[in-house]
Symmetry: C2
Subunit: 198 residues, 2 copies
Amino acid sequence: MYTLYGFSGSGNCYKPKLLLTHLGEAFNWVEVDTRKGETRTPEYLALNANGKVPLLKLDDGRCLAESNAILCYLAEGTTYLPQDRWQRAQTMQWLFFEQNNHEPSIAEARHISKFLPADNPRRAHLPRLHERGYTALGVMEKHLAKQPFFSGNYSIADIALYAYTHVANEGGFDLRGYPMVRAWLARVRAQPGHTPMH
Amino acid sequence: MYTLYGFSGSGNCYKPKLLLTHLGEAFNWVEVDTRKGETRTPEYLALNANGKVPLLKLDDGRCLAESNAILCYLAEGTTYLPQDRWQRAQTMQWLFFEQNNHEPSIAEARHISKFLPADNPRRAHLPRLHERGYTALGVMEKHLAKQPFFSGNYSIADIALYAYTHVANEGGFDLRGYPMVRAWLARVRAQPGHTPMH
């Protein structure tokens, strides 16, 4: 059985949890509280030298890090990763967009707003993060005006982008101007086997 | 024949150029100067709504964005993307590490140092970017102490990480304390069909 090390407040950790639930795979969830330094202990760093969650551990002890790499691994051979080469390329495009454009702005703004004290100096980054996050949301809005999901049918690209978009309000983002994104969020929630973040 | 839209000063754009050269695939290179706003024209945004380079265009006009998604697409079925499922998962792990940890610190520091005026306010970000970049380099150093390449043989994980590591000095990084990283840079340069960035 898979073991998933994760912090339940993290969208990155929610991604593999949501996919495993869709797949009907049982798994052990090990709660790791990043706020208490639990990803920086020698024991945890021996599992993941990068000191981050989520982390997927196989029965034989091998470990895989990076939320979207875990999604790719678990989705292989399932409908959540397209068989068609070009559709799969599109899925990968959106997975990298998520980790390079979307997560560093939208998840970071949420982290600062939700988890750091009101006087934390990182709050000064919020205007820049909001600007970048709204740019990412604009790219998504434009794409979703053309198709219901990011790469063909519902896939790990949708799972990855859903994770922090559906809680973007916690980072101070207002989705009222993004009707296509809001309709897509509802379509993701309506998928069979959907499970909420908490 | 593939068309690659890229800015020759960009490590992200160098990645697919290096892979295509390894593969012996001819391609057209279209220089797009991001500093002159050439990724923000209506014509370019029609190709890539995210307004970034690199962009791979197929003969039939279909376009693929995100440097590491382009690497995955081009490497399919070649030795640059492992056939073994677990090794492929490791490759993906390092590709996402590159886009979420390495590139946002090391490439951003280089961009600020190399391309922005000395009085640009973004220079204030450099200490934080250096801290994050050295953390990423430390993770690489530790991994390369155990194996010569990132995921088995030389792969797209090495190509992706080489792109900005080999010019990290231009962002103010000093690799003297990273002997494993420096030895790996030399191994990458020694690969058959290697081509320099410029």
